[in-house]
Every structure is written in structure tokens, then in C-alpha cells.
């Protein structure tokens, strides 16, 4: 063995510990001058120390731990009982919707026009009943905006009752969670709210179901309405942002999801800079969340938060967290609840947020 093949690993260790004697220190220096490998190793330790920097703060560590505990352990014990079996209703209506599609398609073979109308009407009724399946007057709504108090200067009154912890989505269920150790999780969402820009949200960009329903509604009213209406037809100079917002909220409270979606869409298109226009982004996002358009809901909530508007900020943060949870984006969800807890330590969502971030774990 050559001298250079005998590496002084032990002396390198003791150098870090600061327990080298002067003689050992001299030996190590001499060796490092001759041995590229030990020189490189010593340099690499220093490089990584600099690159990896300081230790992570305890809050971040706690969030990772909570997320892992939630993901790895059987979920049943932590699931909150589903309120008023709304998910059961949702399933029934999804089945009804599917059945209607089959029925509509079958009819289409015989009578195209009739089938088309029946299909659109059925979807409307599904949307109507879907809204009705939630308790009224909207205590289950995490976000209720009083239209009457909304004006250009006064923010709307926002009621934010505690929201039931959503059950974890099927794609986050035990089997898939277990497979996470071997399959990489897609991570294309920001871990916090701040990097999101308003430019990322385009109403209609991913054609959420709410807007599809709105278009269906227009088609039902005017079956030949294939052309893009000209400006003269669409311009309604007498309509203000607050009027449109009031009308949309009223439609939503009546359960006319289709009409409400259309009105909110108009509001955003015609008065994008108004406060009502900004608020409508959050409200539509909430509707999308309720209708299962979860990805679109996340974009909507993030777009609203990026506007800097404060009126529905707390609700939008909670909505975003819920949506991320339903998408199975555990880390982002935990981050989102953490952001909410920091921004609103007395929020009515504190209980949910603490459960979801695992702060109530032993």
C-alpha cells in the first residue's frame, strides 16, 4: 500500500471535533497537500455545509411529520363524520347524471333535438338538486356573501361558519398513500400563496363545469345561439357591478347555479377591476369546489388571493386548503392550512387547520 492510499479519515473526524493535537494537525496538513481525495472530501463537507445551510425551522418539520402521520396511518379513525350525508347525495346525483347521459344519448339516436333539450334540462335539474342537497339557508356554505351590503366602497358582510373537515379524496386513500413511497407525487402547485400571480387565472381557461352549465343555459334559452353576440347585444350600460353581483348572489341563493355562474362570468368579464368582480372570483371558486371542479377551484382561490382583496381572504385560504386536500396534494394542503393559521389565528377554521396540520396530534 502506498502512503497516499492510507487516508487519514480519523484525523479528519477529529479535526471537525477540534480534538487534534499539534502533531496530528501537522500530519493531516501534510497528507492533505499530497492526497487529492482527502482534500476533495474535506472541501465537499464544507461545500455541503454551506449549501444545505441552517436547520429547518420546527414548524416546517412539524408540518412534514403531521402530513406523513396522516398519510401513513389508517385514515378511518381520523375521518370526521360526513355532515348531513351530502357526499351520499353527491354520489346519487353523479349516478343520476351518468344515467341521464346514457338516457340522453339513447334518445339522441331517435330524436336529436328532443334529446338535446332533455339532456340540458336534466343537467340543470341535477345542478338545482345538487344545490338543494345542502342545508338552507346555506349554513353549510363556508362562504356566504350578503349581496345587499355590497357596494363600491363597503365590503360585503361575510359569514364564515366552521366548515366540516372534508373526507380525504379517493386518490389519497390508504392504498394509494401506501404506494407513495415508490411513486413520485406530482408537484406542480406552489407551496404557498405568495408566488401566485393573478395572471395565472383565466375564467374559462379550463372550462369549469359551472361555466359549461351557463352556456348550456344560454343554449336552452336560444337553441340557435351559435354565433358570438355582438357588442350592441351584450352591452348593458345601465347594469353596474354591484347590481350584477347582487343578481348573481340572489341566483346562487335561490339555487340557480346555472344563472349565477353566467352572471358571475359576466361580472368578471365586464368589471374585472371592481371589488365585486374580485369577490366573484372567490365565490365562483367556491361553487367550483362544491361541484367537484377542484383543480379549477384551486386556480380560482389563488387568483382571488393574488388580487390582494381582504374581504374573502380567510375563506379563500380555507377553500384553497380544502381543494388541495381533495386533490391529494398533502404538502401543499398542510402549507395552506399553516398559512391560514398564521394569518388568522382566531379563524373559525382553526379546528380544521389544526387537525389537518397535525397540531392536535400527541
Amino acid at each position: 500500500m502506498k502512503v497516499i492510499d492510507f487516508h487519514l479519515d480519523d484525523l479528519l473526524d477529529r479535526e471537525i471535533e477540534g480534538t487534534l493535537s499539534p502533531e496530528e494537525d501537522r500530519r493531516l496538513r501534510e497528507h492533505l497537500e499530497r492526497c487529492m481525495q482527502c482534500h476533495l472530501e474535506r472541501q465537499l463537507r464544507s461545500d455541503f455545509e454551506e449549501e444545505l445551510g441552517a436547520r429547518e425551522d420546527p414548524t416546517t418539520i412539524q408540518m412534514f411529520v403531521s402530513g406523513a402521520m396522516r398519510a401513513a396511518h389508517p385514515l378511518a379513525s381520523r375521518r370526521v363524520p360526513r355532515a348531513a350525508s351530502s357526499h351520499a347525495w353527491r354520489r346519487r346525483f353523479i349516478l343520476l347524471l351518468a344515467a341521464t347521459m346514457v338516457f340522453g344519448a339513447g334518445l339522441a339516436g331517435a330524436e336529436v333535438e328532443f334529446a338535446g333539450r332533455a339532456w340540458v334540462a336534466a343537467r340543470q335539474s341535477v345542478a338545482f338538486w345538487f344545490q338543494r342537497s345542502r342545508p338552507e339557508p346555506t349554513p353549510g356554505d363556508a362562504m356566504t356573501v350578503s349581496a345587499k351590503t355590497t357596494s363600491e366602497n363597503a365590503p360585503p358582510v361575510v359569514h364564515s361558519p366552521a366548515v366540516a373537515l372534508p373526507a380525504l379524496p379517493p386518490d389519497l386513500d390508504d392504498a394509494n398513500v401506501r404506494s407513495q413511497a415508490s411513486a413520485p407525487v406530482r408537484r406542480d402547485e406552489p407551496s404557498s400563496i405568495s408566488p401566485v400571480s393573478a395572471g395565472t387565472y383565466r375564467p374559462g381557461a379550463d372550462r369549469p363545469r359551472v361555466e359549461m352549465l351557463a352556456r348550456d343555459h344560454e343554449s336552452l334559452a336560444n337553441p340557435s345561439n351559435e354565433q358570438v353576440p355582438n357588442e350592441a347585444e351584450t352591452a348593458k350600460p345601465s347594469t353596474s357591478a354591484s347590481t350584477l353581483f347582487d343578481d348573481a348572489n340572489a341566483a346562487r341563493h335561490r339555487g340557480s347555479t346555472v344563472e349565477a355562474a353566467g352572471l358571475y362570468h359576466d361580472l368578471q368579464a365586464r368589471f374585472p377591476e371592481s371589488q365585486e368582480g374580485r369577490l366573484s372570483i372567490a365565490v365562483v371558486a367556491r361553487m367550483q369546489l362544491d361541484l367537484g371542479e377542484t383543480t379549477a377551484a384551486v386556480s380560482g382561490f389563488e387568483a382571488y388571493l393574488a388580487t390582494g382583496d381582504e374581504a374573502l381572504r380567510e375563506e379563500a385560504m380555507a377553500g384553497r386548503a380544502i381543494a388541495l386536500g381533495r386533490l391529494g396534494r398533502i404538502v401543499a394542503e398542510v402549507d395552506a392550512w399553516g398559512d391560514l393559521l398564521r394569518a388568522y389565528p382566531r379563524s373559525s377554521y382553526v379546528g380544521v387547520a389544526r387537525t389537518r396540520t397535525g397540531q392536535d396530534l400527541p
Partner: protein
């Protein structure tokens, strides 16, 4: 070993034993204690600019929880956890590289040259990236030893306890890993000159 470190290891070993037996509270405590080291390993393997660090940490923690019932206490719990973190992160890094090679549509940000950095920092980044790339191509035992040595700054004895291998075996693994690193650098004279090695 220092008495304080020994005491912590004993304490950690006891918690790990309870966690392995299915005690949820002990599992949470164990995770809190080992997560900082695991995070460091993941960051070291994946690079500080990788967007997948959070996912990798999460997956590694989940993998640790699932592996706990098989933990027999034959090695240090922190080392056990760090090896799981290392394997998870390296697996994700390899998959990312494979996808990158197949599609070549995305740019891996941790491989981007840091043009606006001072030259010393740039060299430092080149060296650490070199290690990261090497980890994918040498035997896993050598790669683990090199990662624990350079990223965590562990001593031979600590690596030995973590891996359950004798100190001389660890010494040998490290020697082979460092030789591979040297060969990599020497095969590229420009790189060797840039890094001031050779």
C-alpha cells in the same frame, strides 16, 4: 462517543422500539427527532433548487413509518431514517433524470449553472452537483457512505452505527467512492482545472 450523544441515542432507540411496536405517539416523536436529518439528506441528494424536495421528504417519512415494524434496533434509528431518506431521494432523482432524458422538455433547475454567483460559489456548486451525479452511478453502499460523510458530516463511527457495517468496511466503501469521484473529475481536464483539482 460523548455521553450526551450516547444518552440521546439510547433515548431515541427506546422511542424507536415503541414506535416499531405501533405506538402512534412514539412514532410522531421519533419522526420529529429524525426529520431534520432526513430533510438534510434529501436536500443534499436532490439539490437545493429541486422542486421535489418537499415531496421526497414526505415520501421518505411515510416510508419510514411503514418500515418501522421491521426495525430491529440493530442500527441507530437516525441512521436507519437517513438511509431511507437517501434511497427515497436518490430514487426520485433517478426517475426525474430518466423522464428528463426521455422527454427533454423541462429544464432541471438544480443543474443550471449559477452564472451570477461568485466563482467560489460556482465551483462549490459544481463539486456538490458532481457528487450528486456520482451517487446515481456507484454501488448503493458506497453512495450512502459518501452521502453521510459529505452531506451530514458524520464520522466513520457514526456511519458504521447507521449502516450496521464495521468501521473498516465503511472506510473501504468511502475509499472506493472517493476514487470514483476522482476518476470522474480526472476524466474531464477542464473540470479538474476549474475545480482546482489534479
Amino acid at each position: 462517543m460523548e455521553p450526551k450523544v450516547e444518552s440521546r441515542n439510547t433515548h431515541l432507540g427506546e422511542i424507536a422500539r415503541l414506535a416499531a411496536a405501533g405506538d402512534t405517539s412514539a412514532t410522531a416523536r421519533l419522526l420529529r427527532m429524525v426529520a431534520p436529518e432526513m430533510l438534510r439528506v434529501v436536500r443534499g441528494v436532490m439539490g437545493p433548487y429541486s422542486t421535489e424536495v418537499d415531496d421526497a421528504v414526505q415520501q421518505a417519512l411515510v416510508a419510514l413509518i411503514q418500515a418501522l415494524p421491521a426495525f430491529r434496533g440493530e442500527c441507530a434509528p437516525t441512521g436507519y431514517a437517513c438511509r431511507i431518506a437517501f434511497r427515497t431521494a436518490l430514487g426520485m432523482r433517478k426517475k426525474a433524470h430518466q423522464a428528463h432524458t426521455r422527454h427533454d422538455l423541462t429544464v432541471e433547475t438544480d443543474l443550471l449553472p449559477v452564472d451570477d454567483s461568485p466563482s467560489g460559489l460556482r465551483e462549490s456548486r459544481r463539486r456538490t452537483e458532481l457528487v450528486r451525479n456520482l451517487l446515481e452511478h456507484i454501488p448503493s453502499e458506497q453512495a450512502e457512505a459518501l452521502a453521510m460523510r459529505t452531506m451530514l458530516g458524520w464520522s466513520l463511527e457514526e456511519i458504521s452505527r447507521a449502516s450496521g457495517a464495521p468501521v473498516n468496511t465503511v472506510r473501504s466503501r468511502l475509499r472506493l467512492a472517493k476514487e470514483a469521484l476522482r476518476r470522474n473529475i480526472e476524466s474531464d481536464p477542464a473540470l479538474a482545472e476549474e475545480l482546482g483539482v489534479g
